[in-house]
């Protein structure tokens, strides 16, 4: 038998309609590998409703409930209450939403779910814009990135605002567990997912999900770009358990953030000065994360 580093079981099927090289499919594939057959997934409007559920097909071997764009957190709490009322204790409820549906449109429902203490997992797959509708900027789009609503022309240099820190918003609710995961590190990803199964209460995963058409890079680079995001400290991997921070992938020395930016067309207009500003923002965030970890 093959020696595999992540579980062999597949709960996501082929034939879905994701773009070639899509990382959002890998986020779903890994999440379900970790959770197993008792998961129930609820999806708002996002890439995944298009990827996985063109009627009458379904790309998952577990149930999916479509919900309204702003309602993922409420849908999660409702499914949990229904499962409890039916005595289905072993069901794992999963909310699976994009960054737009989480950081912007679904933020109050997520806040409600975390505050109510719903025993469930919420996964935000973060492709850093409204990709399904054609690359419009979201609250999670990073500083300087080109999108169709933050163009690069005589009056605009891409997005003028920074990326919303969703993990900090989630952490402020004191959830049972929260972690960042990246499709480029499947073994780490699976460890985090498997850990959520052992913890009761609200759990949150911020999953980094590179997007070839939206980020303007060739599809075969999805994993390489994901790896660069973490190795440049642009997207650090860490977990927050019972309020304690722990960095789950720590390099002796991070690579320059320019390597990550220059690999993507959405940042190709940036000048050296703009890249230096992004580098100092990344360094500041990393220093703060190290300080939070020291607090214990």
């Amino acid at each position: 038998m093959a020696r595999l580093t992540i579980p062999a079981e597949e709960y996501m099927r082929s034939g879905h309609s994701a773009c070639p090289g899509c990382a959002a499919t890998l986020v779903m594939r890994y999440v379900l590998k970790g959770l197993g057959p008792n998961a129930i997934v609820t999806l708002p409007a996002c890439c995944w409703t298009v990827i996985g559920t063109p009627f009458p097909t379904t790309a998952l071997n577990v149930p999916i409930l479509d919900c309204a764009f702003e309602a993922t957190g409420a849908s999660v709490s409702g499914l949990r209450a229904a499962a409890d009322a039916l005595g289905l204790a072993d069901v794992i409820v999963v909310g699976f939403a994009g960054d737009g549906g989480t950081a912007d449109i679904g933020l109050q429902a997520l806040s409600g779910m975390l505050e109510r203490g719903t025993d469930a997992l919420y996964v935000m797959y973060d492709n850093e814009a409204y990709m399904n509708t054609g690359v419009q900027r979201s609250g999670a789009t990073p500083l300087g990135a080109w999108t169709t609503t933050t163009p690069v022309d005589a009056t605009s240099r891409g997005k003028g605002e920074g990326k919303k820190d969703v993990m900090a918003i989630v952490a402020a609710h004191r959830p049972a567990y929260a972690a960042t995961v990246n499709v480029a590190f499947p073994e780490d990803f699976l460890k985090r997912v498997e850990k959520t199964k052992t913890i009761r209460g609200p759990k949150f995963l911020h999953a980094f999900s590179p997007c070839p058409p939206g980020w303007r890079y060739p599809p075969e680079k999805t994993i390489a770009i994901g790896r660069l995001a973490t190795d440049t400290n642009s997207f650090p991997l860490y977990e927050i358990e019972g309020g304690k921070y722990r960095i789950t992938r720590k390099l002796g020395r991070a690579r320059p953030v320019a390597e990550y930016l220059k690999a993507q067309g959405r940042f190709s207009h940036l000048t050296d000065a703009e890249i230096a500003a992004i580098q100092s923002e990344v360094d500041g965030r990393w220093a703060r994360l190290l300080a939070l970890e020291t607090l214990g």
Partner: protein
């Protein structure tokens, strides 16, 4: 056959109102839809260079790489969209992307 070279459209061929299901429940597995026609480049695995590390299997967004009984990776040609992640990530460079 559809212009895309498969007959998956039959799963969605509701001609009259009577053909519609009573509830909007999707029960048709997505793999009735073959996505091979999306592909321009085809991954060709050279088994003599393969170390059975399964990186290709692990990173395939389309679950289009299977593992045969002897443990070798096999491209599922009906579903591979030709993204090229497997060839890019293969450390021993055992996969070539070949134009079809």
């Amino acid at each position: 056959m559809s212009p895309h070279g498969h007959d998956a459209h039959k799963a969605t061929a509701y001609i009259t109102e009577q053909d519609l299901p009573e509830r909007p429940l999707a029960t048709v597995p997505s793999d009735v839809i073959k996505t091979a026609s999306w592909r321009t480049f085809l991954p060709v695995i050279h088994l003599e260079a393969c170390t059975k590390c399964y990186v290709c299997w692990k990173f395939c967004p389309d679950v289009a790489i299977g593992i045969d009984e002897a443990g070798w990776p096999v491209v599922r040609l009906d579903y591979c969209k030709g993204c090229g992640i497997c060839a890019e990530e293969c450390k021993p460079r055992a996969i070539d992307m070949v134009k079809e």
